[in-house]
């Protein structure tokens, strides 16, 4: 049987009378690239926070990397990677200092950090930027580096929250090649994006509407199911049904 790295069963989060995430259930296999789509306010961020061990579910259950997201939050955090468009790296540290810092946070030994740093910088072609302050890097470079940092400790799962927002078209595609490489190594990738062409690059995609998962399948199957030309059509059809207007 295929290893399930993420599963959720009836996962729900309410804030007072408002149900942000409403009984979502799904599974993600090892090494899969799973696209987690939805309009602003559909509940993606709340769901992602629960899966990362940052927020407790109101009801329902879930496991990430073999740990219960309600009772083993600290273990979950140790076994995942995370990057977002907003927070990724420390701007006033140099490239190597960021790698050193995150390696240390994840409990790697100095020697392992040094070796891994060399490997990452050479993979990315960033050797000459080792002593550059992160704030001086172009956004696309920053995001590629941030992704490498998020999988520095070889987590089972990496959560990417709009990793390519505003990144130029060329770098956006290079970024996805990094994602493929990580998935080939067996790292499960859980990614949100507002670029619908990127939804096509995922193995499977779920679309959230008003706190519920309204569709979940491979991009090809979703296109067939909704008789749509592309994922943008699929998304427009589903998200237009939303009744909710606030986050």
């Amino acid at each position: 049987m295929e290893e399930k790295v993420i599963w959720a069963d009836g996962l729900t989060k309410s804030f007072g009378a408002f149900t942000a995430v409403d009984h979502i259930s799904f599974e993600v296999r090892r090494g899969e690239i799973f696209g987690f789509l939805g309009a602003n306010g559909a509940g993606k961020t709340t769901a992602m926070r629960m899966l990362c061990g940052l927020s407790l579910p109101t009801s329902g259950r879930g496991e990430v990397a073999g740990f219960d997201i309600a009772t083993q939050q600290e273990e979950v955090k140790k076994h995942i990677g995370y990057m977002s468009q907003k927070f990724s790296l420390y701007e006033d540290l140099k490239v190597w200092e960021n790698l050193r810092l995150f390696g240390g946070i994840y409990g790697l030994k100095s020697r392992a950090i040094r070796e891994k740093t060399d490997e990452i910088l050479s993979d990315l072609g960033f050797e000459s930027e080792r002593n550059t302050f992160v704030r001086a890097l172009p956004l696309g470079w920053k995001q590629k580096l941030a992704f490498s940092v998020s999988i520095f400790h070889e987590p089972k799962v990496v959560f990417l929250d709009e990793p390519t927002g505003g990144v130029d078209p060329m770098t956006r595609r290079q970024f996805w090649e990094l994602i493929y490489r990580a998935a080939d190594k067996g790292i499960t990738v859980f990614v949100t994006t507002h670029y619908m062409d990127e939804a096509e690059y995922c193995d499977r995609v779920s679309i959230m509407v008003d706190g519920k998962i309204e569709a979940l399948d491979s991009p090809r199957a979703l296109r067939e199911q909704f008789r749509a030309e592309n994922m943008d059509d699929v998304f427009q059809q589903l998200a237009r049904k939303a009744k909710r207007t606030s986050d």
Binding site: A39, A42, G166, D168, P169, Y195, M196, D197, Q236
Partner: protein, 298 residues
């Protein structure tokens, strides 16, 4: 309505805007399309009189951005990329504030913002800081419009906004255009470019090309092929190893490639089939603005 000549601005060693010259006609919807770091925000800040250029001149409605900055500020509306309304004022208080700063009232120009504002009016007593992304964007646009500007500057109004809300937002802009408002809008989303009258593709502080979206597409100098096969993942590697491939990029559910002069789609088809690819399809297609951008930005 907007006239820019040899405009430059550097921050230390970084040339954010380099020798830019362009003009925007009255009533035009002019898109500045480019990724983060292209120089879009710097350009907007110079044009909205918030930043001094190192060299060059810029005029809005015939007024100089340095000498006549006070008069220009009466004439323009500016929606910065970062949400900059007062988070601890309510929706209605924000709109009132912006109206009163410009010596007008909500009532006087309500017709201009009505379509947009009525969508957030049910929440008029909510603090702006507590609004969702889409609603903040609508409020920010209302506030930028309430004094009936002649020129509207929108800096990345749709960044981080989902595809449905993005479509809605562009619907609003097309309506505003009919009110004789000149609009300059920047975006990193290439699919929005086709809704503009003219677009400037910007990277590294320069305009790579300025034209109507259709002309930019028509001027694409290569034949673009869309390629797919059963195993898409493996296909990309083989497309890149084919000696005749000039460029190859993933584009949603297919790959877009250009071929060198000495090779043909037939030879590529044979090459791929020899490598065990099945259901190979190679079709000529019309490029998108994003294809054009990638070709020009190389």
């Amino acid at each position: 309505m907007v006239e820019v000549n040899d405009l430059s601005k550097s921050y230390g060693a970084v040339n954010a805007v380099r020798d830019l010259s362009f003009s925007v006609n009255r009533g035009e919807l002019y898109g500045i399309i480019g990724p983060d770091g292209a120089g879009k925000t710097t350009l907007f800040r110079i044009l909205t009189t918030l930043l001094l250029a190192d060299r060059g001149t810029a005029r809005i409605a015939g007024l100089d951005v340095v000498r006549d900055y006070r008069r220009i500020r009466q004439l323009i509306g500016y929606m910065p990329g970062k949400f900059s309304l007062y988070q601890d004022l309510t929706v209605e208080e924000n709109l009132q504030f912006f109206a009163s700063v410009f010596n007008t009232t909500i009532e006087e120009n309500y017709y201009l913002v009505e379509d947009i504002y009525k969508q957030i009016e049910p929440f008029r007593n909510r603090l702006a800081g507590k609004l969702s992304g889409g609603m903040k964007q609508k409020l920010a646009l209302s506030c930028a419009l309430i004094h009936k500007p002649k020129v509207l500057f929108l800096d990345e109004p749709t960044t981080g906004v989902d595809p449905v809300s993005r479509k809605e937002f562009w619907g609003m802009l097309l309506k505003l255009k009919q009110q004789d408002i000149t609009i300059l809008v920047s975006t990193p989303y290439m699919d929005e470019a086709k809704l503009c009258d003219r677009i400037a593709l910007m990277q590294g502080g320069r305009f790579l090309e300025v034209d109507t979206p259709q002309h930019i597409i028509d001027h694409y100098p290569e034949t673009l092929w869309s390629v797919r096969a059963k195993e898409m993942h493996r296909l990309l590697g083989d497309l890149r190893s084919f000696p005749g491939t000039k460029t190859s990029f993933s584009f949603g559910e297919t790959y877009h490639i250009t071929l060198g002069k000495s090779s043909s789609p037939e030879s590529l088809q044979r090459y791929l089939e020899e490598r065990g690819h099945r259901n190979v399809s190679i079709q000529p297609i019309s490029p998108s603005v994003e294809d054009c951008f990638m070709l020009l930005s190389k």
